[in-house]
């Protein structure tokens, strides 16, 4: 293992405020339209009161031409005092915007430093700031603003600044919780260790990281401030007559609502459009900052799954599960990216098969594809998955639902988050039992306790009453297995079932899986990167590299004579097998990411046996021995070595 881990200062990784971010933002038409509209508003706010200086003090216009509907001489009509609505709207723009800006400035000046301090310094600072924020949240904001405005009649600054003070804790909390995780990051620790001042770290390293969040919140807050400003102006508390304001114009219109309903439309629509622009802009900024990743919409899965299958249409005999030429793709920026290609293997009834490989080889994706639960918008775009006489790769969502939990069950690598935190674990097992076995509530309860006892819980009743957060990792994994077994499946897929657990607990879980497989004659497909798990558990192994299978064999012969240099490398770097070795040999380099797989043998760049021929042609899978196959043209070298 390398002796020193270089502390890389990843530097400020700004999510907002840098040119790339703005370019990304400006690729969104919505953002451009909103920015353009707001720019026009700002322009009008500057120019209109200068160009039409009389409007602010105009008490009455042409009284004989009052209450006119729009015409060429008055594009938006005239109000009850005969004043031109359009010019009042334009001049009123300034007070509205000034009010919003005043509130925003107050909010930002208060919230950002306090939130940063609370999140970064923690301790008492955090306590005090959070307590003050909580207190402010309990204030009746209306009362306070109205009282303040009764002291400073029609003082916009007083009203909007008060609103700013009251609104600040909201943003402060957001800043605080955005800062908390950053504080724990390595590069911040490194910066602290190298003696940089706190102020420097806060302004140079943390602030840029949270800038995106702040910008999003600021634009949403601007919308809220606009609502407050127009609302107070509507109550005539903010702007003294006869000066126009949007809210005040709505109020004027409301007083003659029954006679002249048109008058509230122009100011109301202007307020609405401005609010819309601000909130849309906020959304666009957020999307640009997080690079729109949207959660998969489950109901769409059925449609996305209609995959062109290239394999045969008859189920092969013999095995319980037969995966043939399976390929999986994810939509990429320009084109789909393959992450699993032409994967074939089978699992016999009652057999334990392992899928081994480094991270990013496509093992977990292969496992997820079997039950039709690919993450994000991944889809199967070739091959077949035969199980119980059906091709799951082409099965509808409804057909898959009959398989999941009932004949194929799934256990994941994160036991602590694989159970619903809001329900008692007993209930979650009962739910599966009632669904899959049609048991009554009482029968399900008894059966759940039995299952928990099978998982070697001494007091199943007590465990069943617990919530997931009250379990340790190992306990949670055993509960997850109990739920998976509720439907008495023929196949259990275990995706890295021990990776997140302590070493001592790992052995327990492996022992449990082996025991369950023996007593229930259940087949297990276990995904792992740990050769210890393979040695403990598996009958046969499939080794995957860069989306392909590179070797397939029974366990004994793969440990004795690996026939692929990748397998050999993995085995050599396995700590379980070389307990005394001072330094473990490592395979140089990393797995090439999907989409940049080299031509020819995908491992050739990292392979010490590679020759020129390796990188030229796609390598086919060969079977030098009965039941032991490899995707390597130089496997002869390995046998000799």
């Amino acid at each position: 293992m390398s002796t020193s881990v270089p502390v890389v200062d990843r530097g400020a990784k700004p999510s907002g405020g840098n040119p790339r971010f703005f370019r990304r933002l400006l690729r969104r038409p919505v953002a451009i339209v909103c920015c353009a509209y707001l720019a026009v508003l700002v322009g009008v706010a500057i120019v209109a009161p200068i160009a039409m200086p009389s409007v602010n003090s105009q008490n009455a216009g042409d009284l004989f031409g009052a209450n006119q509907l729009p015409s060429w001489s008055h594009l938006l009509g005239t109000d009850t005092l005969g004043r031109d609505v359009l010019s009042r709207l334009l001049v009123g723009d300034r007070v509205t915007l000034v009010g919003v800006v005043e509130a925003l400035v107050v909010v930002l000046v208060l919230a950002v430093p306090l939130g940063l301090a609370a999140g970064y310094l923690g301790g008492w600072t955090d306590r005090v700031v959070t307590w003050l924020a909580d207190l402010t949240f309990s204030l009746p904001a209306v009362v306070i603003i109205i009282v303040v405005l009764s002291v400073f009649p029609t003082s916009m600054l007083a009203g909007m600044a008060t609103f700013g003070v009251i609104a600040a804790p909201g943003l402060m909390r957001v800043v605080r919780s955005a800062t908390l995780p950053i504080r724990e990051e390595l590069y911040i620790k490194a910066a602290e260790a190298s003696g940089l001042s706190r102020t420097y770290i806060l302004t140079r390293h943390i602030l840029p990281r949270i800038a995106g969040v702040v910008i999003v919140q600021a634009s949403l807050l601007a919308a809220v401030a606009l609502g407050v400003q127009t609302g107070l102006a509507f109550l005539k508390l903010l702007v003294a007559d006869p000066a126009p304001s949007w809210g005040g114009m709505v109020a004027d219109g409301t007083s003659v609502l029954l006679l002249h309903p048109w008058l509230i439309i122009p100011p109301g629509a202007t307020i609405a459009v401005t609010m819309l622009a601000l909130s849309l802009l906020g959304d666009a900024v957020r999307d640009a900052a997080v690079e729109s990743w949207s959660a998969p919409v489950r109901t769409k899965r059925a449609a996305a799954k209609a995959a062109p299958a290239s394999a045969g249409t008859t189920p092969p005999a013999g095995a319980l599960l037969t995966v043939q030429h399976l390929s999986v793709s994810f939509p990429g920026r320009e084109q789909d990216v393959r992450v699993v290609e032409d994967v074939s293997f089978d699992v016999a009834a009652g057999e334990i098969v392992g899928i081994v490989g480094e991270s990013g080889c496509g093992k977990s994706v292969t496992a997820a594809a079997i039950v039709g639960l690919l993450p994000g918008s991944g889809r199967i775009d070739g091959g077949s998955i035969w199980f119980g006489g059906k091709d799951l790769a082409r099965a509808s969502e409804a057909e898959l639902r009959k398989v999941r939990g009932r004949t194929i069950a799934f256990v994941s690598q994160e036991p602590m988050v694989s159970l619903d935190p809001a329900y008692r674990v007993g209930f979650q097992i009962e739910e599966a039992l009632r669904r899959h076995r049609g048991l009554s509530r009482a029968a399900a309860r008894d059966r759940a306790l039995e299952l928990l006892r099978d998982m070697h819980f001494v007091d199943p009743g007590a465990v069943a009453r617990r919530y997931p957060h009250e379990l340790s990792g190992g306990m949670a994994q055993r509960v997850a297995i109990a739920r998976a077994l509720a439907g008495e499946p023929e196949l259990l897929i275990a995706d890295e079932p021990t990776t997140a657990l302590d070493v001592t607990v790992q052995a327990e879980i492996l022992e449990l899986i082996r025991e369950l497989q023996m007593t229930r004659q259940m087949a297990v497909l276990v995904v792992t990167h740990d050769w210890g798990v393979v040695a403990d558990l598996c009958d046969r192994v499939v080794v995957m590299y860069a989306g392909q299978i590179v070797e397939r064999s029974d366990v004994q012969s793969i440990f004795d004579t690996p026939l692929h240099p990748y397998t050999e490398g993995l085995l050599a770097s396995n700590p379980h097998l070389e307990p005394e070795a001072a330094t473990l040999p490592m395979i140089p380099g990393t797995v090439p990411p999907p989409g940049s797989w080299p031509a020819g043998c995908r491992f050739s760049a990292r392979c010490r046996y590679a020759v020129a021929a390796c990188a030229e042609l796609e390598v086919a899978i060969e079977a030098p021995y009965q039941g032991h196959e490899t995707r390597c043209i130089r496997y002869g070298q390995l046998i000799k070595a």
Binding site: A141, G231, L257, E414, E431
Partner: protein, 345 residues
């Protein structure tokens, strides 16, 4: 009016966040419900103190005073002084406040300087109006908003976008303007509902409902929009989480996944922002009462503040604070009920 920052993406409801300030964690009230109640009540005391004191200070700073408002500008200085003495306004501010506080502790909030009506009575008359409006708008916001949010989270594509657009529009329309438009459409053009006024529930329950439909609709639009948005985002987050994936993988029924596992977890986040929403809606009632000429607290507030009627303003501050504290208490209790992680066993 005061659209609180309900638009902020929900601050992850972490346990540490919600209990961090509690100074007496070691003193431990172990029952979580009791703990929440105690915490909110303990907090209410300094709040009421601060808010009422602040009100006194602010109102006393106001140029002009109540005597001038009552007597007009034509009275002699002696008359002003006499009235000020009679009202206790000649005393130093802290003494005025102390007198008020002494009486307030016995439940007597004083009398309006203008009408002589006891403040508790004046507020008591108007409280039902504001509460009807507030509770009505909250119920409508939650029922429709959560429904819309769940629907839009489940249906991506055009339907989801339509629901989002609806939420966005609701978010952008100011309540006072919507109220005015509703009057034009449903009271003036079609005579379906009364344009203004309030009917007490004890006079006629039907009339009461009838008089509330338009104001509640105007007030709820924003609530629906923000609840829908929060629900949608929370649902999408939860639906993408590992425990939901594992529920699918183990064949739990779709209905249970959406309405039991996803909605329950999403509702924790929605509930935390409901408190902010309720406070925002409380502000909105001032505007909506103004539009529909409803005799609620909002109109009393605006008049009292402009007339420097200190007892009424201070009494209002007390009532509004109690309402906000009560809202937060209910929200906290709902959160405890929903989230087993804050419950101590």
């Amino acid at each position: 009016m005061v659209r609180q920052v309900a638009a902020t993406p929900p601050v992850a409801p972490r346990r540490s966040d919600r209990t961090a300030w509690v100074p007496d964690r070691a003193v431990l009230v172990r029952n979580p419900v009791l703990r929440v109640v105690v915490r909110r009540c303990v907090m209410a005391v300094p709040l009421l103190f601060v808010v009422s004191a602040l009100t006194f200070v602010l109102v006393s700073l106001t140029p002009g005073n109540a005597a001038e408002e009552i007597l007009g500008t034509s009275a002699t200085p002696a008359e002003y002084a006499a009235l000020n003495r009679a009202l206790g306004l000649d005393l130093p501010l802290y003494e005025q406040y102390w007198n008020w506080l002494r009486h307030a502790l016995t439940g007597n909030l004083g009398q309006s300087i203008f009408t002589g009506q006891p403040v508790t009575q004046a507020i008591g008359q108007r409280l039902p109006v504001t509460l009807s409006l507030l509770v009505g708008a909250l119920v409508v916001s939650v029922v429709i908003g959560v429904g819309l949010g769940v629907f839009s989270a489940l249906r991506g594509g055009a339907v989801g976008r339509a629901a989002d657009a609806l939420a966005l529009v609701g978010f952008s329309l100011p309540a006072f303007w919507v109220g005015a438009e509703l009057i034009v459409i449903f009271a003036v053009w079609r005579h379906w509902f009364p344009a203004t006024g309030y009917v007490s529930i004890s006079d006629s329950p039907v009339g009461w409902l009838h008089s509330l439909v338009l104001p509640v609709a105007a007030l709820s639009l924003y609530g629906i929009a923000s609840t829908a948005k929060q629900t949608r985002e929370a649902m999408l987050d939860v639906l993408a989480s590992e425990h939901i994936r594992m529920a699918w993988a183990n064949g739990i029924s779709p209905r249970s996944i959406v309405f039991r596992h996803a909605l329950r977890n999403a509702s924790m986040r929605v509930v935390t922002v409901l408190g902010l929403l309720a406070v925002g809606l409380l502000g909105g009632t001032v505007l909506v009462e103004n539009v529909f000429a409803l005799p609620g607290l909002g109109s009393l507030m605006v008049t009292a503040a402009t007339q420097h009627d200190i007892p009424v303003v201070a009494g209002m501050a007390v009532y509004f604070t109690v309402i906000v504290v009560a809202i937060n208490l209910v929200v906290d209790l709902a959160y405890v009920w929903l989230n087993p992680r804050v419950r101590v066993r």
